[in-house]
Amino acid sequence: MILDLQNVSFGYSRQQTTLNNVSLSVRPGVSVGLVGESGSGKTTLLRLMLGLVRPTSGTIRFGDQNLDPGNGTFMQRYRRSVQPVFQDPYSSLDPRQRVVDIIAEPLRSLRIPGDRTQAVADALEAVGLPLDAMRRYPHEFSGGQRQRIAIARAIVAGPQIVLADEAVSALDLSTRIRIVELFKTLSEKLTLVFVSHDLGVVAALCEEMVILERGQVVESGKTRDILASPTHPYTQRLLASIPRMPA
């Protein structure tokens, strides 16, 4: 078990609880999808897992240690191991930075030794972008390509876990399928945690699923099993609402 959340609750204010008693475990090599609609708390859950906010109650353990956002040394190690990919390819890249600097930022800030240019080149290759992308600026790329750049930034430090927050929701169908394929390839070497409202994408990528409704986990387990026979009424409603292709 790499990342383990136990009875985590979070509220931005005393009256408002965004997450209520959430427990989930991320096991090495087992990709997991966090499924929820708006108001489910999935974004907050992601921010907790990224160490951007502290839980109001409950524990988050990474390996054998507690996730403590205040502990600088711990966070350095944690950030190297857990990296995010965000939803909007147009706001997740600094428009005034060259691609090479964008991708190399984790290497620089986390003080990772080694040839930075080579590491960036390897990352670009892994995401299917040409090397000459390094000298260019984000605005020269399409949405799908930008997302690849964001993914390159996420994997350049060799993380154990990649947390993707609706990482393909803003993409066209034909681009979406290619990025999903990229995630699938990458998930062979790292553990993927994929937050999405789109069950189709989660089903294509994740072995396991956690269904969230209004800040609580209503169902979790193997994707195949949940899809075949969902137990919780919310899951059933969710599955029934998904528009299907005509036979």
Binding site: L173, S174, I177, H197, A204, L227, L238, S241, I242, R244
Partner: protein, 270 residues
């Protein structure tokens, strides 16, 4: 039966860039057509051109006949009369489609009043108020009093979209153009809105032009589809035919992608 909307050889250009090239399509009363395309396909442009809503810096050539009236080159006055009566539009983003500073009741009342004035009937406060409540009921919005007195940000996204649909219906249009109406909504809300649209279109006998990039969504509400790629129509036909046996390589790639996600979900009705 004459077509409600006939587009022939439509070309839309912005400067040197062609956005739509040589598009032709026709919609007969009561027909439901889907316009499928990804970003940059020109699908929204076509809808805007059909209602004369494109800015003057964008050049439109070709023929667009809406309810017998030529739209290309038509003065704004003519178009104002046509809009609402001939065609009404429901947009993608419910948050920006409604005026944030005006109560919902007033916003729905506006197109109602305009329509009553247009028809020359009695335009009393009571008549308007009655119709507003009637529309709110038609789009299955609960607690009409609360809705009427709320501001857009006080109700949910799905409810806002229902309000937008109510406003479109208020015009009693012959053609309803829905441009990605459910894309910004949750899955469960989307299913409800699609069902609502389906029901309303059947009840009123309106024609429907449904624009979307989402193949399974489109297949829920339309009979015929037109696939656009970079402003060019690459395939057209009955929904089941085009999705079941796509001819064009682009359509095939879209259908394959959609089926991939669909199949990952397992058998239907599980």
């Amino acid at each position: 039966m004459t077509a409600l909307l006939t587009i022939q050889g439509l070309d839309i250009r912005a400067g040197d860039k062609p956005l739509v090239s040589g598009l032709s399509l026709s919609i007969r009363p009561g027909e439901r057509i889907g316009l499928i395309g990804e970003s940059g396909s020109g699908k929204s442009m076509t809808a805007m051109a059909a209602t004369g809503l494109l800015p003057t810096s964008i050049r439109v050539t070709g023929s667009i006949e809406l309810d017998g009236q030529q739209v290309v080159g038509a003065p704004d006055k003519t178009m104002n009369r046509l809009r609402g009566a001939a065609a009404a539009v429901v947009f993608q983003e419910p948050l920006t489609a409604l005026d944030p500073l005006m109560k919902i009741g007033r916003q729905i009342a506006e197109p109602v009043r305009r329509r009553l004035e247009r028809e020359g009937g009695k335009v009393s406060k009571d008549a308007i108020s009655r119709e507003v409540r009637d529309l709110i009921d038609k789009v299955a919005l609960p607690q009409p009093e609360r809705i009427i007195n709320s501001y857009p940000h006080e109700v949910s996204g799905g409810q806002r979209q229902r309000v937008a649909i109510a406003m479109a219906l208020a015009c009693r249009p012959k053609l309803l153009i829905a441009d990605e109406p459910t894309t910004a909504l949750d899955v469960t809300t989307q299913a409800e809105i699609l069902k609502l649209l389906d029901q309303l279109v059947r009840e009123t006998g309106m024609a429907l032009l449904f624009i979307s990039h989402d193949l399974p969504v489109v297949s829920q509400v339309v009979e015929r589809v037109i696939v656009l790629k970079n402003g060019v129509a690459v395939e057209e036909g009955a929904v089941n035919t085009v999705f079941g046996n796509p001819q064009h390589v682009y359509t095939r790639s879209l259908v394959e992608a959609a089926r991939l996600f669909d199949e990952a979900l397992g058998a239907t009705g599980s």
